[in-house]
């Protein structure tokens, strides 16, 4: 059998060229794999959902509701009533969170270890596109249950999109098939197509390119490999060892996330109810919370250029995130180097870069904190909203700067003491862990 296939498909060449390829091992490398697992689970659970979901707002009469409800809403209740339906839907929901979180942590790992440097700039760029695509995909799926909460939350995104100068209205109208409101019957079919077809296909293509580049350019490896076998790749072969490891890890991943999905059901649509004129108090998911926070503390102003408005909604909702994305894309090009990067760098040996990453994380946390402005105000009736906004602004700007300075000083101090240690003992203790 193998021989028959080999003669036709040249399997042994595939074997020596790809399957025996050595992959360096480090626990932080699993972050990229977890992202991949989350995507696989999203596709599988998503297929189940499409088989039972009705992408329509046609009114249907169902038990327990006096008035007709949108068919999309009713079909989510139906899915929840199927055997394991609610678990699979929750698994889909939590996997989206996990995919975004894992991609983000994976990106931090790449940044902290210098793996973005030549020759891997392209894969860094593809990676950022993947992270953005993952977030946009999650956003387009949000409105599909068509409950009051989902519709309100998506509506905010719709209006942020509209705030983009010149193109905003057209872009929002294309994404949502017109205006986003409960009575627009075209929105759900449009979002459905984008969410289950176009964006997943795009993600799939980009993930493929990402992994191909990774294989072609060879993975960076931990520093000890340089001492043990300089110039060679130290790792385990893709087949069978790496594949078995990945397979086991995938099964563990599925087991753990399914348990989570069973224990914590996601987005209880029946608690939110179908859309009504009443606005529920919505909070965006954690990956939008920082944008939501910035929107809450920006002052209001008016700036018209060539008929387009550059207001705070545009600045907070579009400009700041775009600048951060562009800044992240520029990172590998700010540190050009002649040689190819082959080994991981230690975060402790790059105090400036590491401190910068910590400062950005602090910025993210502080902006997220601003997202709870209303809750702070409700909890402290004596606090004036002006004072709170001022405090949040100070935190947003000062905390990241302080984080940078403190972590830089600490790392410099710690690193210097280690240099001394190296002089004494001739080796760095635990330097390569």
């Amino acid at each position: 059998m193998y021989q028959w296939l080999d003669e036709r498909l040249d399997l042994s060449r595939l074997n020596t060229k790809f399957l025996r390829k050595a992959f360096p091992v480090h626990h932080s490398f699993f972050l990229g794999e977890i992202t991949l697992f989350a995507f696989v689970v999203l596709v599988l659970t998503g297929i189940f959902l499409t088989l039972n979901y009705e992408p329509s707002t046609r009114p249907v009469k169902i038990e327990g509701y006096n008035d007709p409800v949108p068919a999309a809403y009713a079909s989510i209740l139906y899915i929840d009533s199927l055997p394991f339906g609610a678990v699979l839907r929750s698994l889909h929901h939590w996997s989206a969170h996990i995919m975004i979180a894992a991609a983000f942590l994976h990106m931090l790992r790449i940044h902290l270890t210098g793996a973005y440097k030549k020759p891997r700039e392209l894969n860094w760029l593809i990676g950022i596109v993947l992270l953005v695509l993952a977030i946009v995909t999650a956003f387009t799926g949000y409105a599909l249950p068509f409950d009051n909460y989902a519709l309100t939350a998506t509506g905010i995104g719709y209006h942020i999109g509209e705030a983009a100068p010149w193109l905003g209205k057209a872009m929002s109208a294309i994404l949502f098939a017109g205006e986003l409101e409960a009575s627009n019957t075209k929105t759900i079919p449009r979002l459905f197509s984008i969410h289950v077809l176009w964006l997943p296909l795009l993600l799939l293509a980009m993930i493929g390119a990402h992994l191909l580049l990774m294989v072609k350019q060879k993975h960076t490896q931990p520093k000890y490999a340089e001492k043990v076998a300089p110039g060679r790749i130290l790792g385990v072969p893709a087949m069978p060892q790496q594949a078995v490891m990945m397979g086991v890890l995938f099964l563990v991943y599925v087991a753990v996330t399914t348990f989570i999905a069973g224990a914590f059901l996601a987005h209880p649509v029946e608690a939110f109810g179908p859309p009504t004129p009443n606005t529920p108090s919505v909070k965006p998911d954690w990956y939008f919370m920082w944008i939501y926070g910035i929107l809450q503390i920006l002052p209001q102003w008016d700036l018209k250029i060539l008929g387009a408005n550059f207001g705070p909604q545009f600045v907070g909702g579009i400009l700041v995130p775009t600048l951060i994305i562009l800044g992240a894309m520029a990172i590998p090009f700010l540190e050009p180097q002649k040689e190819k990067q082959r080994y991981l760098e230690l975060p402790s040996q790059h105090p400036r870069r590491t401190s910068f990453v910590l400062a950005m994380l602090m910025f993210y946390i502080m902006a997220t904190l601003a997202g709870y402005k209303i809750d702070f105000l409700n909890a402290n009736p004596n606090l004036s909203s002006g004072t709170l906004i001022a405090i949040l602004w100070v935190l947003l700007i000062v905390a990241p700067i302080l984080t940078y300075i403190i972590s830089y000083i600490l790392m410099k101090a710690a690193y210097r003491s280690r240099e001394v240690e190296i002089e004494f003992t001739g080796r760095a203790s635990a330097a390569d862990d």
């Binding site: 109208a173 009504t276 004129p277 009443n278 102003w301 018209k304 408005n309 209303i374």
Partner: protein
């Protein structure tokens, strides 16, 4: 231009006999590049044209017509959904009702259009400022329900402060002072002039501001 064209053409002809002529290559390349460029341009244009078709035309059905003078306010939800609001039944200062306008002739409730959402409340007439009182009737005031910030329905009533609250980002509007925006929102909510007729609330004219999300200016904002 025509002369030049003729010239290159002649060269191209000779090239057929003499394959090495470099100008012939250049011309052929230019023609091919122009063809590819025009093809790509046509492809982009037609894609954009198809793309423009992705923006659907808005259908104006009777339940989506804009708010008009003479419209009667009805409950948007709850047990009395679709029934006219009786101003005598409103509890002063205690509640705010999310309402839709109804065409009095056809009896069609124009609730399919988000922008038609209206807010109705009865306040102590003594607390209203002059501008607001002019458009109110016996303390009943009516505002557009679409938040100026990012378009949520301003559906909550803060009874102890007598303010309208948008749950999305906490914008506060003051119904006693022409819908002035206190925080978050860039502009005041538009107020509708109304009159009371046969125990009904009737729209009596245009709102004080355009309806829906608006850009910021300085008017009407009290910075806190």
């Amino acid at each position: 231009m025509a002369d030049h064209d003729h010239d290159t053409h002649a060269h191209g002809h000779e090239a057929a006999l003499e394959p090495e002529a470099p100008e012939a290559h250049a011309t052929r390349r230019a023609v091919l590049q122009a063809a590819i460029g025009m093809g790509a341009g046509a492809a982009v244009l037609s894609t954009l044209y198809v793309g423009a078709g992705l923006i659907p035309k808005k259908e104006i059905t009777p339940d989506r017509e804009p708010i008009a003078q003479g419209d009667v306010l009805v409950y948007s939800q709850g047990p009395k959904r679709g029934q006219p609001i009786n101003p005598a039944e409103l509890k002063p200062g205690a509640e705010m009702i999310v309402a839709y306008p109804m065409n009095p002739e056809s009896q069609v409730v124009k609730g399919a259009e988000l922008k038609n959402t209206l807010l109705v409340m009865k306040l102590d007439p003594g607390t209203l400022d002059a501008e607001t009182a002019k458009l109110a009737a016996e303390g009943v005031v009516v505002y557009s329900g679409v938040c100026k910030h990012l378009g949520c329905v301003v559906s909550n009533w803060v009874a102890d402060k007598q303010l309208m609250l948008c749950p999305c980002h906490g914008a506060l509007y003051d119904p006693k002072e022409s819908g002035k925006a206190l925080i978050v929102a860039p502009k005041p909510l538009g107020q509708f002039p109304i009159k009371l007729e046969n125990n009904r609330i009737v729209i009596a004219g245009e709102p004080t501001r355009p309806i829906g999300v608006e850009a910021a200016t300085d008017d009407g904002i009290r910075r806190v």
